[in-house]
């Protein structure tokens, strides 16, 4: 199956994406993640202002049959939450890179960005699974 992997985004091996601009990043889950999870029926996101650490859980996404943690690609404080997603979790399946963005983070360590995967590196990672 072919997965959408926009070139302008950064990725993690946990199947989250980050759209970086300056010292902020918008975060969501990848097309591969939503497809593997199936019908997404519940999303739990952090409160505004919460301090996140890279690779630690910042929320939960649930399909009908499973619960999966969301892992932040970066460290920093949550400055925006897509709270509309809580009532429309199915957007995660339909628009994983668009309206199903999850949180916006103010980066506390921009050095971390170097360890994220580029689109081509993520694509290579997926084909190795």
């Amino acid at each position: 199956m072919t997965q959408k992997i926009p070139v302008e985004l950064k990725y993690t091996k946990d199947h989250e994406w980050a759209k970086v601009s300056g010292d902020t990043a918008v975060i969501g889950i990848t097309d591969f993640a939503q497809s593997a999870l199936g019908d997404i029926v519940f999303v739990e996101l952090p409160e505004m202002g919460k301090a996140l650490t890279a690779h630690q859980s910042f929320g939960v996404v649930e399909s009908i049959k499973s619960v999966s943690d969301l892992y932040s690609p970066v460290s920093g404080a949550v400055i925006e939450v897509n709270s509309g997603l809580l009532d429309t979790p199915e957007l995660c399946n339909a628009e994983p890179y668009g309206n199903a963005w999850m949180i916006k983070v103010k980066l506390s360590n921009t050095q971390e960005l170097n360890s994220l995967l580029s689109a081509s590196e993520y694509e290579k990672f997926l084909s190795s699974l």
Binding site: G38, D39, F42, E62, S63, I64, K65, V67
Partner: protein, 358 residues
């Protein structure tokens, strides 16, 4: 242990199903979307490969007497060509498995058991048969089993010519021969909808599977099956039922007929005071999952969720939970702990939805 495959395994792979090990078999969890599969069964028709389940035959003049002795429900008084759901218990009343017994003839009974318990059931049943004039055989490997479920099932079964009888009510069975293939057909299933289960040779199952898909019946996986049975509150072994509980703990009092002749577990169950009670709970927000704690309104842990999911039909989180009998909430104000957040639950005295079976 080597992982087993059903006769339809290749078909599941062709359909690009999401596969997972279940009870020692590589089984399809879902083909398209769990939601779509559930809705197909509730509104139209879906087909499940449940060939992993076990088939035992009991044959001989004491066949009915023996099965009636083995199980807690009344089998002796069921009509010929009827099916009976029942727990199978130990002498101490704990549940070995739950099963459906099909009364094919005065001297022939088919017992269909859970795949995960085939070996355990077989050993237990073998240990009890010696005083009865009947033989038992484990033919699990010889049979495939398809479950066609949903309101359109009857029309489909008639169009295919498998069902001809004018009257074939729920939990009836028949044996028939089509194209030299012997079939056992039961009007049963575990979805709460009208439907049929077809026991057949592997070759016939494969041709029937393809035929059903070609006329638009949706292939459905074990994930949809679990949601369907939970929406109508049917227990599942390994969840609501296990080696530690009796049927009286798990809301199955209606299947324990203490008034009937001697049966395995009768004396233990006659005196048994239930330790647990099964409750049905739903949430306005959040999804209860197996193992989550259930609390009372004073924050005391009083039980655990045994099965939980998002209901496709109601759009709410639904659960069955086993609660300690002495801690049952008289105010019916149950709380479920989800990742350390407390969610107030709605208490349901009936199943979350009413299935459409007749």
């Amino acid at each position: 242990m080597t992982i087993q495959k059903t006769s339809l395994h290749e078909e599941h792979i062709i359909l690009n199903a999401k596969m997972a090990p279940f009870a020692g078999f590589d089984m399809p969890l879902q083909y398209s979307s769990v939601k779509e599969e559930v809705l197909a069964v509730r509104n139209h028709a879906g087909v499940f490969d449940v060939s992993h389940m076990g088939e035992f035959f009991v044959e001989g003049s004491d066949a009915i007497k023996f099965v009636d002795f083995l199980i807690t429900n009344d089998f002796k008084n069921a009509d010929i060509l009827k099916a009976v759901y029942s727990p199978l218990c130990r002498d101490n009343g704990t549940v070995i498995d739950d099963l459906i017994a099909y009364k094919l003839a005065e001297d022939r009974v088919l017992i269909c058991v859970n795949a995960s318990n085939i070996q355990k059931d077989w050993e237990w049943i073998s240990s009890k048969v010696s005083n009865f004039k009947c033989t038992i055989s484990n033919q699990s490997a010889d049979y495939s089993l398809l479950a066609l479920q949903g309101p359109e099932s009857e029309k489909i079964m008639r169009e295919l010519g498998i069902i001809k009888a004018v009257d074939f009510p729920y939990y009836s069975i028949l044996e028939t021969t089509i194209n030299n293939e012997k079939l056992i057909v039961a009007r049963s299933g575990y979805t709460g909808e009208d439907g049929f289960e077809i026991f057949s040779s592997h070759a016939y199952a494969k041709s029937l599977w393809k035929k059903l898909l070609s006329i638009g019946v949706k292939p459905c996986g074990l994930a949809a099956r679990d949601v369907l049975r939970l929406e109508v509150c049917y227990p599942l072994y390994g969840h609501e039922l296990n080696d530690e509980v009796t049927p009286l703990d798990a809301g199955l009092g209606w299947t324990v007929k203490l008034g009937k002749d001697a049966f395995v577990g009768k004396s233990a169950l006659s005196e048994y005071k239930p330790r647990l009670q099964l409750v049905k709970l739903s949430l306005e927000r959040g999804i209860p999952r197996e193992g989550y704690e259930v609390l009372d309104s004073n924050n005391n842990v009083i039980g655990k969720v045994t099965s939980g999911t998002m209901s496709v039909v109601t759009g709410k989180g639904i659960a069955m939970a086993l609660i300690q009998q002495d801690k049952i909430c008289k105010d019916k104000k149950y709380v479920i702990n989800i990742r350390n957040t407390k969610y107030e639950a709605n208490f349901h005295s009936k199943a979350f939805i009413k299935g459409g079976h007749k």
